[in-house]
Amino acid sequence: MHSLAFDVSHTLAGGLVLISFMMLYQDRLYSLLNVFALHALVLALSVAWQAFIQDAPHLYVTAAIALVFKAIVIPVALHRIVMQLGIHRDIESAVGIGLTMLAGMGLVALSMVLMLRVTAEADPLAREDLAFALSVVLLGLLVMVTRRNAVSQVVGFMSLENGLVLAATGAKGMPLVVEISVAFSILIAFIVIGIFLFRIRERFDSVDVSALDDYRGERR
């Protein structure tokens, strides 16, 4: 009943959810980036494990992409951006940490309930993976919603995409082309966001996105 394949993938996917929570908990920019790198690393391990148990060698490519781009290139690039811009390294969150954690718990419970209802007939491995992936996606969204700092919103966006990759690898028969195109679109999005970050910084002397509201004449 408890096969090792299920246990290991369960542990890795559960670890991914836990690291999403760690991301919610951080209040320093650099430690947030480090946690994000850890997130990507665990994702790469999880995808590699899926490749191993599904006997799907193309998933190793996905794992390698996740490892190289998300765990190394993007965190290093973000570190450099933060250093060049010289922005504040503590994150102002819009909602308190305790409340955010509770909201995160609610989201995880929601995704579990939803996925277990919807996918009653599916393979348990895929089902468990989908439930975790949905919670990672929702937690990424939560990071984006509760943070005012643009860099941490980028990190939230990237972790959301990690959840998508987890969902895609859990489902059998996902073609490689789709994954590569997803990965590239994320990379493009990252570049665009990077350029935007510089523009926002130039214009407002800060990457706090609430400055945009003031600019539009809205009141907070």
Binding site: H2, S3, L4, F6, D7, V8, H10, T11, G14, G15, V17, L18, F21, Y25, I97, G98, M101, G104, M105, V108, A109, M112, L116, P124, R127, E128, A131, F132
Partner: protein
């Protein structure tokens, strides 16, 4: 005959926890001292402290009520009973069958309740501030502890410690991410409940930071001895709880011969020593956090317990 041997083994366990608790605390103190390159007191110093306190006269405030005098014995008795319930070297002892995790939590809770009342009884400001801080910590630590209990109970199908230990020791349990989260949450709760370093530092008498020590500041003589002994027992209890639920290897099963009891006792001593060493290592490596950070620390424990419980529903989905 069977009943006699049952009573004998259970009595052994009750004596064992009583004898080992000061030794464990002494060991942790010695280790901490050695880790910062100091000589440190002997590991038997806590016994000497207790004897010294027992010989001393009790000084009572004029306005101390009966509650103040009764509390040390009540707390000590509650913690001792709780410590006797946790399987240390063998499962299935006489009391183990009445040992529910929830009963243990409530025994510890009532001990803390009396201590907090006594802290406020004499009416000094220190006692009040200690009691209010202790209750703040307890109000956050107890839900976290209960969530850990739920998580364990869902995995093992029972809140009874002997059943849990036997279940975890069997090969039926695979790699469970929920159990991993539960053990971390339980360690965090144990640190908070025992007033260990990231939450509280009982070795100092600095009024800004002290929690537990402020609450028992008015006690002296044999009353203080009882309270200190209760604190030693509580540390032993939490370590045995963690060892029995998460590392139940070599623990003796009920009804096997004296040899397996001996093996279980040696394994228990090894586990205690390892836990004491890691506790000392952790305490020398971290600094005490602000009192206002404690809710976040315990909130993380609560979150881990809740997450572990939630994840169980996915892992049971087939």
């Amino acid at each position: 005959m069977v009943v006699m041997s049952d009573i004998f083994v259970q009595g052994m366990q009750m004596l064992l926890v009583l004898l080992l608790a000061p030794l464990l605390t002494g060991f942790v103190r010695k280790m901490k001292a050695r880790l910062v390159r100091r000589q440190g007191a002997s590991v038997f110093q806590p016994y000497r402290d207790l004897l010294r306190l027992l010989r001393k006269e009790v000084v009572l405030a004029d306005n101390a009520s009966w509650l103040f005098r009764v509390t040390p014995y009540v707390t000590f008795a509650a913690i001792w009973v709780a410590a006797a319930l946790v399987p240390t070297f063998a499962t299935g002892l006489l009391f183990n069958w009445t040992a529910d995790l929830i009963a243990i939590v409530s025994l510890l809770g009532s001990a803390r309740f009396f201590l907090a009342l006594a802290g406020m009884d004499v009416g000094t400001s220190f006692g009040g501030i200690g009691a209010s801080r202790e209750v703040m910590i307890a109000a956050l630590a107890e839900p976290a502890m209960l969530l850990v209990v739920f998580c364990i109970a869902l995995v093992a199908g029972s809140t009874q410690l002997s059943t849990v230990a036997n279940f975890v020791a069997s090969s039926y349990v695979g790699l469970r991410v929920s159990l991993g989260m539960a053990v971390i949450a339980l360690i965090m709760v144990a640190l908070a409940e025992n007033a260990r370093i990231p939450v509280d530092n009982p070795a100092t008498h600095l009024e800004l930071t002290m929690v537990h020590e402020a609450m028992v500041l008015e006690y002296s003589g044999r009353h203080l001895a009882m309270i200190e002994f209760g604190a030693f027992l509580k540390l032993l209890l939490y370590i045995s709880l963690i060892a029995c639920v998460f590392l139940p290897w070599k623990i003796a099963v009920f009804g096997t011969g004296p040899l397996s009891y001996a093996v279980g006792a040696v394994a228990y001593l090894v586990k205690l020593a390892a836990a004491g060493f890691f506790l000392a290592l952790f305490e020398t490596a971290t600094a005490k956090m602000r009192v206002f950070r404690v809710p976040q620390f315990l909130g993380a424990a609560l979150m881990l317990g809740l997450l572990g419980t939630l994840l169980l529903f996915v892992s049971k989905s087939f």
